[in-house]
């Protein structure tokens, strides 16, 4: 993971807007339709090109072409099926949070609009009637599926035509897959999570072997806090949920050099109140045990912006980097570059300027309007430039 040697580098959390050329992609992927590979490669090319034009240093594939359904995971892992939901079941643990109970009226509106993000003009997906379940041993089905994805990204980079200094590729952590793939086979959830970890190891390796930076997406590490039933004390949550998942992620990272990995956590990107979020300080020491070099986390939205102060108390190990969110996906208002610079500088002053890579809180794609997503990335780059001028003056 490149550090900010002589200026603040920029990146983002992964998801970017769907290019105009394939607006119908989400619904087609949702239905499991076959999609022409050339369309995807060329769309990735557009998105990479645009990141380079805006001035993003570490680019991604935009993730708009992946669905999180059985068509996708079934190609990667064995032991997964889909079945209709039964009375009282949810399709994702996101739908059984404490926050949902507290803000029942708000979530009722959200559900009836079919949105999590309130993006003007968005085309809501039909509500899920099924849930994914693990009904047999979870095993990797080789690396053919991930290899195809890596190939698509590389082909997109080639089509973009510019010089890409660094590129990252996102794969979900074992401890987050189990919020939408439900265990109906393993004796314990712990066993299930470790089986997922074992299966993911080959995929993680394939990403790194391809020369890409592996980004592990792991909102589960904090999101289970408001989902676990019955609610836990922080100490118990750390022991029973967080530590187990961190062990699992480290198991999945076995044999992978730490300096090729960045770890992304967030408190869930839906546009809700987030008043039940677990404070970063309750878990930061555990996060530092993860065998990753960089940490991407939310620090721009109003529930977590104050948490930059956590790093005043916690020492960041020498070899690690912070990739704080300085751009939020939870408002249409575009961050002022001066604000972006302020946010970067306060991290830089605590952990050292070369150890800060500026990013977004979470993916911007489908979280804000396409026009706004790109304007926000431009503000990120402009803000990083201001911060660099001040930090290297």
């Amino acid at each position: 993971v490149k550090s900010s040697k002589d200026r603040i580098l920029t990146t983002h959390a992964g998801r970017l807007p769907i290019p105009a050329s394939c607006q119908d992609l989400p619904i087609r992927l949702h239905r499991g339709d076959a999609v022409d590979q050339d369309t995807i490669d060329s769309a990735i090319g557009d998105v990479v090109r645009r990141q380079l034009d805006v001035g993003i240093d570490c680019v991604g594939d935009g993730e708009f072409w992946k669905a999180r359904n059985v068509a996708y995971y079934g190609a990667h892992l064995s032991g997964i099926e889909v079945r209709p939901i039964r009375q009282g079941e949810v399709t994702t643990t996101r739908n059984s949070t404490g926050e949902r109970q507290e803000f029942a009226g708000f979530y009722k509106d959200m559900d009836s609009m079919g949105t999590l993000f309130f993006v003007p003009g968005e085309k809501p997906m039909p509500p899920d009637r099924d849930r994914m379940v693990a009904t047999g041993p979870i095993k990797a089905k080789g690396t053919a599926a991930i290899d195809r994805e890596i190939k698509a990204f590389k082909s997109g980079i080639e089509r973009a035509g510019g010089k890409v200094e660094e590129a990252f590729f996102c794969v979900i952590a074992p401890g987050w897959l189990d919020h939408f793939i439900f265990n109906e086979y393993y004796k314990s959830d712990e066993e299930f999570v470790f089986a997922l970890a074992d299966a993911l190891n080959a995929e993680y390796k394939a990403v790194v072997d391809a020369g890409l930076i592996l980004q592990i997406d792991d909102p589960g590490i904090v999101d289970w806090w408001d989902m676990v039933k019955p609610a836990m004390r922080v100490e118990d949550y750390r022991k029973q949920i967080a530590s187990v998942r961190i062990e699992a992620v480290n198991a999945a990272l076995k044999g992978i050099p730490e300096d090729r990995v960045r770890y992304h956590l967030c408190w869930g990107s839906w546009h809700g109140p987030h008043t039940h979020d677990l404070p970063l300080k309750e878990i930061v020491d555990l996060l530092l045990q993860i065998k990753a070099q960089g940490y991407s986390f939310e620090a721009a939205n109003v529930r977590h912006e104050h948490e930059w102060r956590v790093w005043q108390e916690v020492k960041l190990p020498d070899e690690k980097l912070l990739i704080p969110g300085v751009i939020s996906h939870a408002t249409n208002v575009v961050e002022h570059p001066e604000l972006v610079a302020d946010r970067i500088i306060r991290f830089g002053e605590i952990v050292g300027r070369e150890k800060v890579v500026a990013a977004t809180d979470c993916g911007l794609g489908t979280r804000v309007h396409t026009e706004i997503a790109w304007a926000k990335l431009a503000a990120l780059v402009a803000g990083a430039k201001l911060a660099s001028q001040r930090l290297w003056k």
């Binding site: 507290e102 803000f103 809700g272 529930r303 104050h306 208002v333 575009v334 304007a375």
Partner: protein, 399 residues
């Protein structure tokens, strides 16, 4: 209000109307008949409830939620003045400037879903035409609003109460004038008219809050191509009109609210506060409500590193944003208050919101449950800031 020994809290004024009031406003807007006694009864109750809820939440300086206003925060005045006629010709959107041009697709989608500038659908369309001299005819309505609010205040304990009103410069800006010689003359007429409303509020012992989203918002419409200087000249004229309307009211009973438009849009062409702050402080008010919580203006607390806040003035920075559903963490609220208090003095900062939560009866910037959670976060954050600024002692209530 007397000397304070803690960070007080307030907000910008408009709060989301109860569901059962909205059908009345739909009829009022559509010009249809409605059950007036039932509406008046329910309005009085609703004001009482919303005042009580603000107090229970811990807000110090409260409003009536602007529940009595139809139309919008500015166009309500059409129901309280003479001289205007409505025509069906489509109106020119007064706030569509560079931001609308730069984010064309976004605004098309946004406004088709949430109405013009996002203040809800159902506000009467068409153009307003000035056909004769403007006179104030709203005595009954303002007296009703004052009485509803005062009755509600009498039933509870607050630090103070304010009623928001539109400035002469922001009242019916999209109008076509067939009566006055020029804009200056019309502005003067509006100042005279608004003065009556301000006086009524002041004489009732309430704080007058004058609202103007058009002063900051006009920049995006004028510039470019106009240079900043032209715009500043335009602002200076507006400030004069506001002061004329405020004449006779002591500064310490006046709050001035500006914002760059409360729609949840990009706002990338907003005029920097630094470019107008001197003109803003020329408005004869003691309390200034300025957006500082949304990410386009959050950095502008630094303006006060360079600009000296004129003596005896108090800032009411927005430390809560209506442009995100995420509820501010009280620690963030405290941080925002503290950095400003360190610059201008702890007695001169009052915690507030960026803007109202409902600029019309049909607007809803966030869900009502989130609005109340945000106001609770404001109160909590102000308590944290107080602890830092005044030490850990139990703070006595002010006023």
């Amino acid at each position: 209000m007397t000397a304070v020994d803690r960070v007080l809290t307030t907000h910008v004024g408009s709060l989301i109307r109860p569901e059962d009031l909205i059908p009345y406003f739909r009829k009022i807007e559509a010009g249809e008949s409605y059950d007036e006694p039932a509406f008046e009864r329910r309005l009085g109750e609703a004001v009482e409830q919303v005042v009580k809820k603000q107090v229970e939440t811990g807000v110090d300086v409260v409003s009536d939620g602007e529940f009595g206003k139809s139309g919008s925060w500015s166009r309500y005045i059409l129901g309280r003045i003479s001289g205007f006629e409505r025509s069906n010709e489509p109106s020119v959107p007064p706030m569509a400037g560079k931001d609308h041009r730069d984010f064309k697709e976004f605004y098309e989608e946004y406004e088709s879903q949430y109405g013009y500038t996002g203040i809800g659908k159902g506000i009467q369309a068409g153009t307003w035409i000035v056909k004769g001299a403007i006179h104030y005819t709203g005595k009954t309505k303002i007296e009703r609003d004052i009485q509803n609010f005062k009755k509600a205040l009498a039933k509870t304990k607050t630090v103070d109460g304010f009623l928001p009103v539109v400035t002469p410069s922001a009242a019916v800006i999209a109008a076509r004038d067939e009566h006055y010689k020029n804009e200056g003359e019309r502005l003067q007429a509006f100042a005279g008219v608004m003065r009556e409303e301000y006086q009524a509020i002041h004489q009732a012992g309430l704080l007058v809050q004058v609202d103007d989203a058009y002063i900051p918002g006009k920049y995006d419409v004028m510039c470019p191509p106009a240079p900043l200087e032209d715009y500043r000249k335009w602002v200076a004229g507006r400030v004069e009109a506001i002061n004329a309307a405020l004449s006779g009211i002591p500064e310490d009973r006046v709050r001035f609210h500006i914002c760059w438009g409360s729609w949840n849009g990009p706002h990338t062409n907003d005029v920097p506060l630094r470019d107008i702050v001197d003109l803003i402080f020329k408005v004869r008010a003691k309390y200034y409500s300025i957006e500082m919580a949304n990410p386009r203006h959050e950095h502008e607390w630094r303006v006060f590193e360079e600009v000296k806040l004129p003596q005896d003035k108090v800032l009411m920075p927005g430390v809560i944003s209506h442009c995100t559903n995420v509820v501010e963490h009280p620690e963030l609220v405290a941080e925002r208050l503290l950095r400003l208090a360190h610059l201008v003095g702890r007695e001169r900062v009052m915690g507030s919101t960026d803007c109202g939560f409902a600029q019309s009866p049909f607007a809803r910037r966030v869900h009502p449950t989130i609005m109340w959670a945000k106001l609770a976060a404001l109160v909590k954050g102000a308590e944290l800031a107080t602890r830092t600024l005044w030490g850990n002692r139990q703070s006595a209530s002010a006023a």
